[in-house]
C-alpha cells in the first residue's frame, strides 16, 4: 500500500477508534498493534503474500463492534422480521450452479427443487451482497484490505487452501442441515432465545475446540 493510501486511511481509522480510545486511553497504545502481528513482528516478511503486514490497522474495540452488530441484528428483526444470514445465499448460488450444469436434475431435486425458477430471488442473497460490500468498504477505509492467503508463517499455501475448501464444504453441508450458519442460526436465533440456536452454538464450539488442534499447523 502506498504512502498516499495510508494518509487517506488516517481519518476513518481515527473515527473508528475514537470511542474506545476515550475509555481505554491508558492501555490503548499497545492495542494499536494488531494482535496477529505480535508473534510475527520479529520474523521477516514473506516475499509476496504477506501473512500479517506490519501496517495492518487494529480493528475496533470488540465489545463496541459487538454492540453495533447487535443493533444491526435488532434492526433486521424489526424491519425484515427475520434475522441476519449468510449461508442461505450461498446455497442459492449452489442451486444456480447445479442448474447450470444439470438443469433437469436440479429442478427435480428434493431440496433445491422448490427454489426454482428463481433461486436468487431471495432476500438473503441480497443480504450477502451487502455483507460483501460492507466488508469491502470497511476494509478499504480501515486500511485492512490485503490481497493474500491468510495462514501461519510456516504453513504452505496448498495446505491452507485445501483446509479452507474442505472446511467450506463441511460448513456448507452443516449449515443446510442446521438451517443456518453462525449468523443465521447461532446469532440470529440466539438473540430470539431459540433452543435450537443454543444447541447449535454449543455443539459448534464443542467440536471446534475438540478438533482445532488437528488443524493448528496452518496457523503456525
Amino acid at each position: 500500500m502506498s504512502d498516499t493510501d495510508k494518509e487517506k486511511d488516517v481519518s476513518p481509522q481515527a473515527e473508528a477508534q475514537a470511542a474506545p480510545a476515550e475509555q481505554a486511553a491508558p492501555e490503548r497504545q499497545p492495542e494499536q498493534v494488531a494482535p496477529e502481528q505480535q508473534p510475527e513482528t520479529p520474523r521477516p516478511a514473506a516475499p509476496r503474500l504477506q501473512v500479517a503486514p506490519p501496517q495492518d490497522k487494529a480493528p475496533m474495540n470488540p465489545y463496541l463492534a459487538g454492540v453495533l452488530l447487535g443493533l444491526t441484528l435488532m434492526t433486521s428483526y424489526l424491519i425484515l422480521g427475520a434475522g441476519l444470514g449468510a449461508s442461505g445465499a450461498l446455497a442459492r448460488l449452489g442451486a444456480v450452479l447445479e442448474h447450470a450444469l444439470l438443469p433437469a436434475r436440479a429442478e427435480a431435486s428434493a431440496y433445491f427443487g422448490p427454489w426454482f425458477p428463481n433461486p436468487l430471488s431471495y432476500y438473503l442473497v441480497f443480504m450477502l451482497a451487502g455483507v460483501f460490500a460492507g466488508g469491502l468498504v470497511s476494509a478499504a477505509s480501515g486500511g485492512r484490505m490485503r490481497l493474500m492467503i491468510e495462514r501461519g508463517p510456516t504453513a504452505s499455501r496448498v495446505r491452507r487452501l485445501a483446509l479452507a475448501l474442505i472446511g467450506g464444504v463441511i460448513a456448507g453441508f452443516a449449515s443446510r442441515l442446521a438451517q443456518g450458519c453462525t449468523s443465521g442460526q447461532g446469532l440470529s436465533g440466539g438473540a430470539v432465545l431459540l433452543t435450537g440456536s443454543f444447541l447449535f452454538m454449543g455443539c459448534l464450539f464443542a467440536t471446534g475446540y475438540l478438533t482445532a488442534w488437528i488443524f493448528r499447523r496452518q496457523w503456525t
Partner: protein
C-alpha cells in the same frame, strides 16, 4: 407497531431485497470492524489466542436479545411477525457439530468469509466456494439426510421453555453469563500464552455494568400491548386481501425450507392466524400460473378424484400422506383439499406433528373453490365487474371439463356460503340457510328480555351500549380496540369467524357493532337486513337456548383504526374547507330547533343528511335502502368517491350507519367518523356553531337519558 416485511409477505419482494441489502451492508461493516475479515483472528478463538469471536458474538447476542425483549414489551414488534426457526434437535446438534469442524478447519464461517473476501483474503474465496459445493452436496444427499434433518423436531421452542425458567431469568442469566465470559476472555488474552493487553479493565467494568443495567431496564419495561403477537393479524386484515395471506404463507414456506414440525401450540397459532389455510382464489392463481413449488393433494376417495379433481392434483389416501409427501417436507407448499375442511384439517395437523411445516388446507375445500372461483358470474349475488367476470370465465375454462358449463347445482351443504364480498347486507333466507354452519356467529342486539323470549338459534345477546364508554371525558365513545376485542373474544368470536349482526329494529345498532368490528380490522361480518323483525316476518325458527361458547384469546390491532377523527381534526377540516362534513342528525336538531346538548345548531359548513333518509320500511322492519337509490342520493351530495368526508351525529350512533353505507355499501374511500360528534363540539364554546331558528333550551332529562342502554332501540324515534 411495526408490520415487518416478513409479516406483510414482502420479504422476497423488491422492498425486502433493498432492506436486506442495506442491513447486509451494516452487517458486513460490523464484522469487518470487529476484525473478522481475518481468518487467523477468527480461528484464534479455538486456540485461545484471540477471543474476539466470543466477545463480539456475545455482545451482539445480548444487545439484540435485550433490544428485542424491549421492542416486544413496548409493542413495537409482535413475536408473530418475526420469522422464528423451529428447533430440530437432531439437525441442530449434528449441524452444529459438523459446522464447528468446518469452522475450525477453514478458519471462516459464511458471513465472515464474505467479509474476508471483501478484505482481499483468497482463502475466504476458496472457503465460500466450499460452502457452495457443500450446499450442492446437501441437496444431492438430501434423500438420505432427510430423516436426520427432521429428527427431534420440536417446533418453535425457546430456551427458557426448554429449561423451564422464565424468559426474564434466561435473559438475565445470558447477560451475566456474557459478562463472565468477557472477563474470562480478557484473562485468557492477558495470560502468559498471549500476554496481550486487551481493553482496559475500567472499560470492561463500565461495559459490564451498562450491559447488566440495560438488562434490568429492558426486563422491567411496562408491557404496552395487551395481546402481543396477535395484534397485527386483525389490524392487517383490511389492507391484506386473501391472496396476500397465502403469499405470506409462501414466504414462510420458503424461508423455512428444510425445516419441520410444530407442536400443538404452533398448530393452534397457525389456526388462529389463518396461516394453515390457502384461499381458493390464491390456489387458483398458483395452479393457473404453473407454480412449481405447489404440491396439490386431493385426499378424497379415488372414485371422487376420478370424477373430478383440480388440475395438477394428485390423489393420496390420508393414511399414505406422510410417506408419499416425505420428499416435500419443508419444501414449497403442500395444499390438501377435500370436499369440505374437516378431513384436510385433521390430515394437516397429523402432518404438522410429523414435522411438515408447509402444509396448508384449502379454505372451504373443493366446495369453497367452486363457490368462490368457479361459480359463474351470472349466479353471483354481488355484481361483477367485467374483469372479474372474465377471470371467472378463464378459471372455468381452465379447471372445468368443456361439458360442465353450468355447475349451478354444486353440492354446498354443510359449508358456510359467505357472500363473495364482505362486509355485506344479507337477507334472512341467507342466514337461515347458513345457520349452524361452522364459522358463523350470530349476534342479537335486542334488549335482553326480548332475546330471552326467543332468538335465532345459537345467537349471542349483546348490548350495543357495552361497546361504548367514556374516553377521556367524552361520553358514548366506541371503546378502544383492546376492550372491544375482549368483548368478542369472550363470546369466542375470532378473526376467522363470519359474524352476522342482527339488530332489533334500528339498523344503527347493527352498524355500530360493525364499527366496533371494523376497529378490530374484522371484515368478516354481515348485517341482517331488517334485523330480528325481518327474521320474525319470514317465520324463521327461534329458540330460547343460550349458545355454547368458550372464550378465546383476544386479537386487538395496535394503533388507530384509520377512520375515527377527533374534534380538532374536524375543526381543521372545517377550516380547510375541502372536506364535506355530513351531519346525519334529524333536521330539527341540525337546524337548532331542537337540542339536547350544550348548544343547539351545527358545525359551520356542515351538510345535513339525516340518517333516516337512508332507511326504508319493509313491512314491520326498518331496512337500509337499496344500493342504487342510495348511490343516486349521495352522488348529489358528494362529488366523487374519494372526496374527503366526515360524518357525525350527536354520539356517533347514527353516524355509524351513514359511515357504513358510504364506505361499505357505496364504496366511498375517504370517509371519516367523528365519534364524539355534536356532544363534544357543542360543549366547546370556542368552536363555532351555526343555529338558524331560535334555540330551545335543552331539557336536562333528555341530556341524562342519552346514556341509557335501552335508548339505542328507540333512538330513531327520540331524535
Amino acid at each position: 407497531m411495526i408490520a415487518t416485511l416478513y409479516s406483510t409477505g414482502q420479504l422476497n419482494a423488491p422492498l425486502g431485497f433493498a432492506a436486506a441489502l442495506a442491513i447486509g451492508f451494516c452487517f458486513g461493516l460490523c464484522l469487518e470492524k470487529a476484525g473478522f475479515g481475518s481468518s487467523r483472528r477468527l480461528a484464534g478463538v479455538f486456540y485461545f489466542t484471540d477471543m474476539s469471536v466470543v466477545k463480539v458474538m456475545f455482545s451482539a447476542l445480548v444487545t439484540a436479545a435485550l433490544g428485542l425483549v424491549a421492542a416486544q414489551k413496548l409493542g413495537i414488534v409482535a413475536q408473530d411477525d418475526l420469522f422464528l426457526m423451529p428447533t430440530i434437535l437432531g439437525a441442530h446438534a449434528a449441524g452444529g457439530a459438523l459446522f464447528g469442524l468446518g469452522f475450525a478447519m477453514g478458519g471462516w464461517c459464511p458471513g465472515t468469509a464474505a467479509v474476508g473476501l471483501g478484505s482481499g483474503r483468497m482463502d475466504a474465496l476458496v472457503f465460500l466456494a466450499g460452502i457452495v459445493l457443500g450446499s450442492i452436496g446437501y441437496n444431492e444427499a438430501y434423500p438420505w439426510v432427510a430423516p436426520l434433518a427432521g429428527y427431534g423436531s420440536r417446533g418453535v421452542v425457546f430456551l427458557h421453555q426448554s429449561l423451564d425458567i422464565t424468559r426474564d431469568q434466561l435473559v438475565l442469566a445470558l447477560t451475566v453469563g456474557a459478562v463472565v465470559m468477557f472477563w474470562i476472555s480478557e484473562v485468557i488474552e492477558r495470560g502468559p500464552a498471549i500476554a496481550r493487553p486487551g481493553v482496559s479493565r475500567v472499560f470492561l467494568a463500565v461495559f459490564s455494568i451498562l450491559l447488566c443495567l440495560a438488562a434490568v431496564v429492558a426486563l422491567n419495561l411496562p408491557r404496552l400491548n395487551l395481546a402481543p403477537g396477535q395484534a397485527l393479524t386483525a389490524s392487517r386484515a383490511p389492507a391484506q386481501p386473501a391472496p396476500a395471506a397465502a403469499t405470506q404463507a409462501q414466504g414462510q414456506a420458503q424461508s423455512m425450507n428444510g425445516q419441520a414440525a410444530s407442536p400443538e401450540a404452533q398448530m393452534l397459532a397457525a389456526m388462529a392466524t389463518g396461516k394453515d389455510h390457502i384461499e381458493p382464489e390464491e390456489l387458483a392463481r398458483r395452479i393457473m400460473s404453473g407454480d412449481k413449488a405447489l404440491t396439490l393433494v386431493d385426499i378424497r376417495s379415488k372414485a371422487e378424484f376420478d370424477a373430478f379433481h383440480l388440475k395438477g392434483a394428485v390423489n393420496i389416501p390420508v393414511q399414505q400422506l406422510p410417506e408419499e409427501l416425505a420428499s416435500k417436507r419443508g419444501h414449497g407448499i403442500i395444499v390438501l383439499y377435500s370436499n369440505g375442511m374437516t378431513h384436510p384439517a385433521q390430515a394437516r395437523d397429523s402432518l404438522a406433528r410429523l414435522g411438515f411445516t408447509n402444509v396448508y388446507m384449502l379454505t372451504d375445500g373443493l366446495r369453497g373453490f367452486f363457490e368462490r372461483v368457479l361459480k359463474p358470474a351470472s349466479l353471483r349475488e354481488a355484481p361483477m365487474s367485467a374483469e372479474q367476470a372474465k377471470a371467472i370465465a378463464e378459471a372455468r375454462g381452465f379447471f372445468l371439463p368443456a361439458e360442465l358449463a353450468a355447475p349451478a347445482g354444486t353440492a354446498t351443504a354443510g359449508v358456510l356460503q359467505a357472500p363473495s364480498a364482505l362486509p355485506a347486507l344479507v337477507e334472512p333466507a341467507w342466514l337461515a340457510a347458513n345457520l349452524g354452519k361452522p364459522g358463523l356467529k350470530v349476534i342479537d342486539l335486542r334488549p335482553q328480555p326480548q332475546y330471552n323470549g326467543g332468538h335465532i338459534p345459537g345467537s349471542f345477546s349483546l348490548n350495543v351500549e357495552s361497546l361504548r364508554g367514556n374516553l377521556a371525558g367524552l361520553p358514548s365513545m366506541l371503546l378502544p380496540a383492546p376492550m372491544l376485542a375482549q368483548h368478542f373474544a369472550q363470546m369466542g368470536i375470532g378473526a376467522r369467524d363470519l359474524v352476522a349482526i342482527v339488530s332489533g329494529e334500528a339498523p344503527i345498532d347493527a352498524t355500530l357493532v360493525a364499527m366496533a368490528l371494523e376497529r378490530l380490522g374484522h371484515k368478516r361480518y354481515v348485517i341482517l337486513q331488517g334485523g330480528m323483525k325481518a327474521w320474525n316476518a319470514a317465520g324463521l325458527p327461534k329458540d330460547t337456548q343460550l349458545p355454547a361458547a368458550a372464550a378465546i384469546r383476544p386479537h386487538a390491532p395496535d394503533g388507530p383504526d384509520g377512520f375515527t377523527v377527533t374534534g380538532r381534526e374536524v375543526q381543521a377540516a372545517m377550516a380547510g374547507g375541502k372536506t364535506i362534513i355530513l351531519d346525519v342528525r334529524p333536521a330539527d336538531y341540525f337546524s337548532g330547533a331542537k337540542s339536547d346538548e350544550a348548544r343547539p345548531g351545527h358545525i359551520p359548513g356542515a351538510i345535513n343528511r339525516p340518517f333516516t333518509e337512508d332507511q326504508a320500511k319493509s313491512g314491520e322492519a326498518t331496512v337500509i335502502k337499496p344500493r342504487e337509490e342510495l348511490e343516486k342520493a349521495y352522488a348529489a351530495i358528494i362529488p366523487s368517491k374519494d372526496q374527503a368526508v366526515i360524518v357525525h351525529c350527536r354520539t356517533g350512533h347514527q353516524a355509524s350507519q351513514t359511515w357504513w353505507v358510504l364506505t361499505r355499501l357505496l364504496g366511498y374511500t375517504n370517509v371519516k367518523y367523528y365519534d364524539a360528534g355534536w356532544t363534544e363540539w357543542s360543549a366547546r364554546p370556542e368552536w363555532p356553531a351555526v343555529s338558524s331558528p331560535k334555540p330551545q333550551t335543552a331539557s336536562p332529562q333528555q341530556v341524562q337519558e342519552h346514556q341509557a342502554p335501552a335508548q339505542s332501540q328507540g333512538q330513531e324515534k327520540k331524535q
